[in-house]
C-alpha cells in the first residue's frame, strides 16, 4: 500500500520540519544574526521586500534567514505576513523629485542637468571571485570606513540637493506631453483589495509589475528586445535613493512617516497611439520598485510600455499573459502544487482513457473483421 495516504501525515510533517532544521544546522556554524543579514545581504533583502510587497528590511532579513535564502519563499513569507496587517492610512503619492539620490544615470544624453551620478553599482566591476573578502574582520571594516572618510574632502562636497528629471527636457521641448490624449483608465485600483478584471487600469498594472518576480519580468522585457516585440526603450533616467513617505491622518494632517529606498526607471520610447497625422511623440514606460533593484525597475518600464500597445502576437504585449504569469506567489505556489497527490484526478483520467482505448480497440477489430469479411466475399 505504497502511496495511499495513511494516518501518518501529521508525524511525517513534523519529521520533515525537523529535517529541514537539521539540514540547516548540521554544519554547526554560527547562526547568522538578523542585522548581519539585513546589512550584508542588502540586495537580497531589497528584492524580497519588492516581491513581498512590504517595505520592512528587518522582516525581510528574518524571512531570508528562515528560508535559507530562497527568494520565492522569502517573498511569500512577507506577503503572507503583509496580508495580516490592517490598513489604517493611505500614503500620499510619492514624489521621486524629492529623492535623496544615491545613484542616477541616463542613457539618452551624455550630460544631463545635475550630472550623472554613478553611485553604488557593480556594473563596471570584474566578476572575479574574491577570496580576500574572507579576511574581512570588524577591525578591517572600521579601517576601510575611516579611510573612505579621509578620502572625502568636505570642502568639495555639494550641499544636499534634489535633481530635476531628464523627462523635463522632453516636456520642455514638446517631444512629450503629459496629456497622452489616448483614452487611459485613470482609476486608482488596488490589486490587494479586489481581483483584477481585464482590461486592468494602468494603476493596477503598475502595482502588479512592481510586485512581480524579478526574473519573470526580465524574461518578458528581454523577449521584447530580441524579436518577440517592438521595444527600443532607452533609459531616460534611472535613479536609486530615499524618498519621504507622508500620510494624512484621521484629522486631515499631513504627517511624515519615514523614508523608503526605491529604484525608479523612466524608459523612453515612441508613442504611436495618436492619430497617424499627428506629430510623433515620445512616451515613458515607468518602472518603480522597493530598494535597489535596477534590473527589475528597467524591465518593469519596458514591459509597462509594451502593455500599453496590445498585440496578441507577443507575450509581453499581452496584459493577461504578463500580469497573471509574472505574479510570483501564484506562479510559485501552483507550480509546486504538482507535488500534491493527484490519484483521484488521475484515476478519473485513467478510467476515461481506458474507455476511449476500449472503443478504439473495438473499432479496430470491427474494421479488421469487415476487411476480412470483404476478402471472404471476393473468394
Amino acid at each position: 500500500m505504497g502511496y495511499v495516504a495513511v494516518k501518518g501525515g501529521q508525524d511525517a510533517i513534523e519529521n520533515a520540519n525537523k529535517l529541514v532544521d537539521y539540514f540547516r544546522w548540521r554544519g554547526k556554524t554560527t547562526p547568522i544574526e538578523l542585522d548581519q543579514a539585513r546589512t550584508q545581504m542588502r540586495l537580497a533583502v531589497d528584492r524580497a521586500m519588492g516581491e513581498g510587497s512590504l517595505y520592512a528590511p528587518a522582516h525581510a532579513a528574518l524571512a531570508l534567514l528562515q528560508v535559507e535564502g530562497d527568494s520565492f519563499e522569502a517573498a511569500f513569507h512577507l506577503r503572507a505576513y503583509r496580508a495580516t496587517l490592517e490598513r489604517r492610512y493611505f500614503a500620499e503619492v510619492l514624489n521621486t523629485r524629492e529623492m535623496f539620490v544615491h545613484r542616477r544615470i541616463s542613457s539618452t544624453f551624455r550630460e544631463i542637468p545635475g550630472g550623472q551620478i554613478l553611485g553604488p553599482t557593480r556594473d563596471f566591476s570584474f566578476r572575479l571571485l574574491k577570496p580576500t573578502l574572507l579576511n574581512a574582520t570588524l577591525g578591517s571594516i572600521e579601517k576601510f570606513i575611516a579611510n573612505l572618510r579621509d578620502e572625502v574632502d568636505p570642502s568639495k562636497l555639494h550641499a544636499i540637493t534634489t535633481y530635476k528629471k531628464v523627462i523635463d527636457i522632453f516636456l520642455q521641448e514638446g517631444w512629450m506631453s503629459k496629456q497622452t490624449g489616448f483614452d487611459e483608465d485613470r482609476r486608482v485600483f488596488d490589486v490587494t483589495r479586489e481581483a483584477i478584471k481585464f482590461p486592468v487600469p494602468r494603476s493596477g498594472t503598475l502595482q502588479m509589475l512592481a510586485r512581480a518576480e524579478t526574473g519573470a519580468l526580465m524574461c518578458m522585457a528581454y523577449s521584447t528586445m530580441r524579436g518577440f516585440g517592438d521595444s527600443h526603450a532607452t533609459v531616460g533616467e534611472l535613479r536609486v535613493g530615499d524618498v519621504p513617505v507622508r500620510i494624512v491622518d484621521k484629522r486631515g494632517r499631513r504627517r511624515y512617516a519615514g523614508r523608503i529606498k526605491v529604484t525608479e526607471a523612466e524608459m523612453v520610447g515612441s508613442d504611436d497611439r495618436g492619430p497617424k497625422s499627428a506629430a510623433p511623440k515620445l512616451s515613458i514606460g515607468y518602472g518603480l520598485c522597493f530598494g535597489q533593484n535596477e534590473t527589475k525597475a528597467i524591465c518593469m518600464g519596458v514591459v509597462e510600455s509594451a502593455l500599453r500597445e496590445p498585440n496578441p502576437d507577443n507575450p509581453a504585449n499581452n496584459q493577461e499573459f504578463v500580469l497573471y504569469h509574472t505574479e510570483v506567489i501564484e506562479a510559485y505556489g501552483f507550480t509546486n502544487h504538482l507535488k500534491l497527490p493527484h490519484y483521484v484526478t488521475f484515476q478519473a483520467d485513467l478510467e476515461g482513457f481506458r474507455r476511449v482505448a476500449r472503443i478504439a480497440e473495438e473499432k479496430e477489430r470491427d474494421e479488421v473483421a469487415a476487411i476480412a469479411g470483404a476478402e471472404d466475399n471476393d473468394d
Binding site: G9, P57, R193, I196, G333, A360
Partner: protein
C-alpha cells in the same frame, strides 16, 4: 531611521482580518444569489502556497466559528499530508473542533472529492478550485470568457465536447466535467471525478467553490438543478468500476483507488477514507447519495 522589529506573534481570530472576512462573506453571498457565477474577490495571500487550497481556506476561515466542527479532505483522505496541514492551521487559528467523521462536520473543506456519505442542510462543503473558468480551455482571455458567460455563449464548449466524442467515441474523459447550474451559468465542479458530479444536483447542503490563485468564488446553493453538459443522444457517464471490489471491505459502491503492491499486483480500495472506515465498522453503512451502476 528607527526600525520596527517587533514581529507579530498573535493573529486575528481565524487569521484573516475582519475587513477582508467581511469582503469574502459579501462576495460569498453574491455567489449564493447567482448560482454558478464566478464572483471576483480580493484573495489575500495566506501562509500556505497558492494552488494548495488558499481559496478553500479563505472560505472556511471566513465562515468558521468556535462551535464549528471542521473536516478537511485531500483526494478522499483526511490523513494525507496537505489535509493534516490545513486542518491543523484551521484548528489553531479558529479554536474550533476538528473531525474525520463526515456526519459530524459542520464545515468540510475538500480537494477534488465529494464525500460518499449524504450531506445535510446543516453542512457546508467547500471545494478547492485550481481553475474556476470552465471556458479557459477554449478561450484563454478572461475578458472574453466573462463576455461569453454574460451572453450565455457556450458554443465553443459544446463544439469541444462534440469533437472529443467524434475523435474518441466518449463524451469527455477525466475529472472536472463542466456543469450547467440552475439552467444559466456553465461552471466547473472543480476537478472532482465524474462519479461525484450527480451529487451536486438538488443537494441538501451548500456547495462553495473557492479559487484563491484565480481570485474567484462560485456556488451551488441547496436544491439547485445541476446538469453535466451532455447531448440528448450521447450521455454523460460516471466512472465504471466493472468487476471491481474493495480489497478491504469487499464493497463496490464507491469511487475506487487503484493500488499496486510492491510485486506490481493490482487491487482496489474505496477512496473515501471515512466512508471506508464506516463500511468496515458498521452493520448499517452510512446513507449514500446515489448508487453507482451495478
Amino acid at each position: 531611521m528607527i526600525e520596527n522589529i517587533r514581529f507579530q506573534e498573535s493573529f486575528n481570530y481565524a487569521y484573516i482580518d475582519e475587513f477582508t472576512k467581511k469582503e469574502i462573506r459579501r462576495k460569498t453571498l453574491k455567489a449564493v444569489c447567482i448560482p454558478g457565477y464566478q464572483v471576483p474577490y480580493s484573495s489575500p495571500e495566506m501562509p500556505i502556497s497558492r494552488g494548495w487550497g488558499t481559496g478553500g481556506l479563505h472560505l472556511t476561515l471566513s465562515l468558521v466559528g468556535p462551535e464549528d466542527v471542521v473536516k478537511v479532505i485531500d483526494q478522499g483522505s483526511d490523513a494525507s499530508v496537505n489535509a493534516c496541514n490545513l486542518r491543523l492551521f484551521i484548528k489553531e487559528m479558529a479554536n474550533c473542533n476538528v473531525t474525520f467523521n463526515t456526519a459530524a462536520a459542520t464545515v468540510i473543506q475538500t480537494r477534488h472529492r465529494i464525500p460518499e456519505e449524504i450531506l445535510t442542510e446543516k453542512q457546508i462543503l467547500i471545494l478547492q478550485v485550481p481553475q474556476p473558468e470552465p471556458l479557459r480551455g477554449v478561450e484563454r482571455h478572461e475578458a472574453k470568457t466573462r463576455t461569453m458567460h454574460a451572453e450565455g455563449d457556450y458554443a465553443k464548449l459544446w463544439v469541444t465536447l462534440y469533437e472529443a466524442y467524434v475523435r474518441t467515441g466518449a463524451l469527455r474523459s477525466g475529472a472536472g466535467h463542466p456543469i450547467l447550474v440552475n439552467g444559466r451559468y456553465v461552471a466547473t465542479p472543480s476537478p472532482i471525478p465524474s462519479w461525484d458530479v450527480p451529487n451536486l444536483s438538488m443537494a441538501r447542503c451548500l456547495y462553495l467553490f473557492g479559487a484563491g490563485r484565480e481570485k474567484r468564488i462560485h456556488c451551488i446553493p441547496p436544491f439547485t438543478r445541476v446538469e453535466p453538459l451532455e447531448f440528448e443522444d450521447i450521455r454523460f457517464k460516471v466512472e465504471e468500476f466493472v468487476d471491481v471490489h474493495c480489497s478491504v471491505s469487499g464493497k463496490n459502491k464507491a469511487f475506487m483507488d487503484e493500488v499496486y503492491a510492491d510485486d506490481f499486483s493490482r487491487s482496489w480500495v474505496i477512496n473515501d477514507s471515512n466512508f471506508l472506515d464506516k463500511v468496515r465498522q458498521g452493520p448499517r453503512p452510512p446513507q449514500r447519495l446515489f448508487t453507482n451502476p451495478e
